[in-house]
Amino acid sequence: MKRDLRYFAWLRERIGTGHESIETEAATVADLIEELRQRDEAYAFAFSDTAAIRAALDQDLVELDTPLGDAREVAFFPPMTGG
């Protein structure tokens, strides 16, 4: 299935882009992370510490074991530091 991926903050910097569209058969957010990690060194570095990764499906924060379902947009980012 085609998914739009978004990256923010140091994840975006490590990967080198803030946005890309990919075809993936990954079932859950964690599966997708594992798939991306296999791509190359930049992705492996960006996703090296899963505890430091937060994810959102169609702009709602989710746990990493959440099924991707029919989400169009999957976003990855570090823990938030607003306020």
């Binding site: 978004r6 923010f8 903050a9 140091w10 975006r12 959102a56 702009q59 709602d60 924060l61 976003a75 980012f77 570090p78 823990p79 938030m80 530091t81 607003g82 306020g83």
Partner: protein, 150 residues
């Protein structure tokens, strides 16, 4: 009055508070509480600027949800969240929340609730710019732990 605003422009804390309070008089609210966060030098003492990245779309959605929950839990007459993104200088306001309620305890608690959730549930990321380079601000465990009291 827009009750959730995400903008890069500097804002006037006093003017925002006055406008909010004036609107509250009509809602029979007896208490108005505001909190403003300023750009401060967190780590080294040589901060040139702060840059805040956010996730357009999700930011507004997350803030609206946090605001709705605060209004319901603390029976607020109203609540406003204003948060900047982009580059800001030391001493400039980053964000402010304002709450109104019939009584002060709810207004204070509502503002604290908004701040606790805003810090770790709204998609903003701070980056400190110093003469030595740029560094992403790390999230603090205390900020995540603060949510457990609600």
């Amino acid at each position: 009055m827009e009750t959730v605003r995400v903008q890069s422009d500097l804002f006037d804390m006093g003017a925002e508070l006055n406008a909010f309070a004036a609107a509250m008089a009509k809602k029979n609210a007896g208490a108005v509480v505001s909190f403003s966060g300023l750009t401060r030098d967190i780590a080294t003492g040589d901060l040139d600027a702060m840059e805040i990245e956010h996730y357009p779309g999700m930011t507004e959605k997350a803030l609206a949800k946090i605001r709705d929950e605060a209004i319901e839990r603390f029976k607020l007459s109203d609540a406003m969240i204003l948060h900047r993104h982009g580059r800001m200088e030391p001493g400039e306001p980053i964000m402010m929340v304002v709450t109104a309620a019939r009584h002060r305890a709810d207004a204070f608690q509502g503002a604290e609730f908004l701040m606790d959730y805003l810090k770790s549930r709204a998609p903003f990321w701070k980056k400190e710019i110093t003469a030595q380079g740029a560094k992403w601000v790390a999230a603090r465990d205390e900020d995540e732990d603060a949510l457990s009291r609600w």
